[in-house]
Symmetry: C2
Subunit: 358 residues, 2 copies
């Protein structure tokens, strides 16, 4: 039986990508060894890196005045690098607090200056995205930070705020899942392990002028300029991760690019939420309808016992990773780009059977 | 024709490891998906991580009072993390300067306190390791840092100094190539991409008491305690890299462990240096005999033109990665654990032919 992988990250990758990487794992393009064994300074890897950059630029329509770099440490290291590089003394760092990851970003920023949450849904257990039109970041803030999709609480911005200061977005869990305007942001970052490839790096898209802000005392490996000025090759990058990203982004283009991907994602999420909403309350989404994530669909069952049973039986039915985050409980179906509609159908069919039997 | 890969890193991995990883790339242990698609919080990856830890502890005989962790960013990020965590105000950080990587480590440390080079071979173009018995680190230094093997200059410590303060070693390019006493060190670190696996992480072995030194203002992802207290799982680790390391260390054990590996490494290096020394001056090692690396064998030819020709023809003869580091020139044969004796023989035979024809 084919297994469908609903893990929140590391997560399912496109089957054709996995098969291609497997095929050339030991002998990349007839070179006699795997791409992971090649120097990061040779022509073969140069081509992989250039291809990854080109694909991201093309798919997301990244303007020329932005650099694309790959930085190890995931989004969690970005929580620290952002304030280290971009906090301006005396100017607050403003955040919209939409869950665990926003809170972690704020905690790290507080080590480097004043932090202000200018919008928050914390009092309502993060069950929605605060009204973006009411978010009023200051013109004299160092930056304004949002988390575009919240993996744990299953919420997602439907549109983005306007900001007079550089807007920064953690897009770890929904980058490359829908069209958006890069030029509205000063910096976008995303841990790779959801929509882009394996764990082990973050993709950072940064407006070129912002790299000049970094204070002199920031270490080399924590300065954005180290990566932008050296095309991510100051030290040895995670070469295999970048290679996988180049294949995943090839796949996105083969699917028809972002608009086609977004349409499929919309269809997948709509079908799943419809299954939840039409269950006469057996399945229940805690998320306000206007804030529901199309990447991480969280829902509850009548009891925790039933939730545990649901998870157990779903594994037997060929679906893994459906258990909710340890801090939130319940069920979570992460349905990133690489989850096919077939997986949604399996889940819906299982949900209907489970409801009937319980 | 089989290709032999002499790259300095990323570098050759054991052929049987590559083949096994290829075989289970898309379906790890019958789970229906690849290990890189699995959550870092599930049982399958837990086992991989525990296995990697166990293997390292067994192979290097790591005492119980040391933790083993995996940190993204390579050795280059460690250059900053070490002083951020371990510099004590008012107590100098002491270094032995044996080349480019020592110098980079000192540069980052200087951002966090006073740096002293208490030994250096810089004046002699780093062609040897300074006498270790004459190295006298201070009892009241924050720490004393050495680079156990110098990839660019082809030098290696044959024995290690004694230090009254915590001794720290960058063992990126010779970890797991020979027996040494972990308990003499406070912290050992190594970028994985030479003897341990793919690029994208450093292995850090740290004496448990040292993690308490970190000042309060160091960000979460740059604190050693974040990794030691969470078994490297505070955030998503580079799961595929750790998996590859678990396979590579399995292979080390299958070879008979460190003593067997070291014997083979000695034989490989001895054969190659013998080929250089017996060439009537056609090939010439710039490194003093007592400091020659068994991992990176650097040598020169009579002219730079001949060196370029050598590199070009070696590729045609099925050997890649023999060009010296861009900052040093010449030829460099990196012969890490995974380079078989067969590769050395191919190189020696090519060297003999090339000399005869030129």
């Amino acid at each position: 039986m084919k297994v469908f992988n609903f893990n929140a990250g590391p997560a399912v990758l496109p089957a054709v990508v996995m098969e291609r990487a497997q095929k050339e794992f030991c002998d990349y393009h007839g070179s006699g060894c795997g791409i992971m064994e090649h120097s990061h300074r040779n022509k073969l890897f140069d081509e992989v890196l250039a291809h990854a950059n080109d694909n991201i630029r093309k798919i997301l329509a990244v303007p020329e005045n932005y650099d694309i770099v790959y930085i190890q440490g995931g989004a969690s290291l970005q929580f620290a690098m952002i304030p280290m590089n971009l906090a301006i003394p005396g100017k607050p760092m403003e955040f919209a607090d939409t869950g665990t990851w926003s809170a972690k970003a704020m905690k790290e920023a507080a080590l480097f200056g004043e932090v202000k949450a200018i919008a928050s849904s914390k009092a309502d257990k993060y069950t929605y995205i605060p009204d973006v039109d009411s978010m009023k970041p200051s013109a004299d803030a160092s930056f304004f930070h949002i988390t575009s999709n919240n993996t744990i609480y299953g919420t997602q911005y439907r549109k983005f705020p306007e900001s007079p200061c550089p807007m920064i977005a953690d897009m770890s869990s929904d980058i490359m899942s829908r069209r958006f305007d890069v030029s509205k942001f000063g910096l976008i970052y995303a841990g790779a392990q959801k929509n882009l490839g394996p764990s082990g790096m973050a993709v950072v898209i940064i407006r070129k002028d912002l790299v000049d802000r970094t204070p002199a005392n920031v270490p080399t490996m924590l300065r954005y300029a180290t990566f932008t000025e050296n095309n991510s090759l100051y030290n040895t990058p995670p070469t295999f991760g970048i290679y996988m990203l180049s294949l995943v982004t090839d796949w996105v283009l083969e699917q028809g690019g972002l608009d086609a991907i977004e349409k499929v994602n919309d269809r997948k999420a709509a079908a799943l939420y419809e299954g939840i909403d039409s269950s006469d309350g057996f399945y229940r989404s805690p998320v306000r309808k206007d804030s529901r994530s199309r990447m991480n669909v969280v829902f509850r069952l009548p009891t925790e016992e039933l939730e545990a049973k649901f998870v157990k039986e779903s594994i037997a039915a060929g679906m893994i990773g459906l258990k909710g985050h340890r801090s939130a409980g319940g069920i979570r179906a992460s349905i990133y780009n690489a989850m096919p509609m077939e997986g949604i159908e399996r889940l819906l069919s299982f949900m209907a059977d489970f409801r009937k039997n319980n």
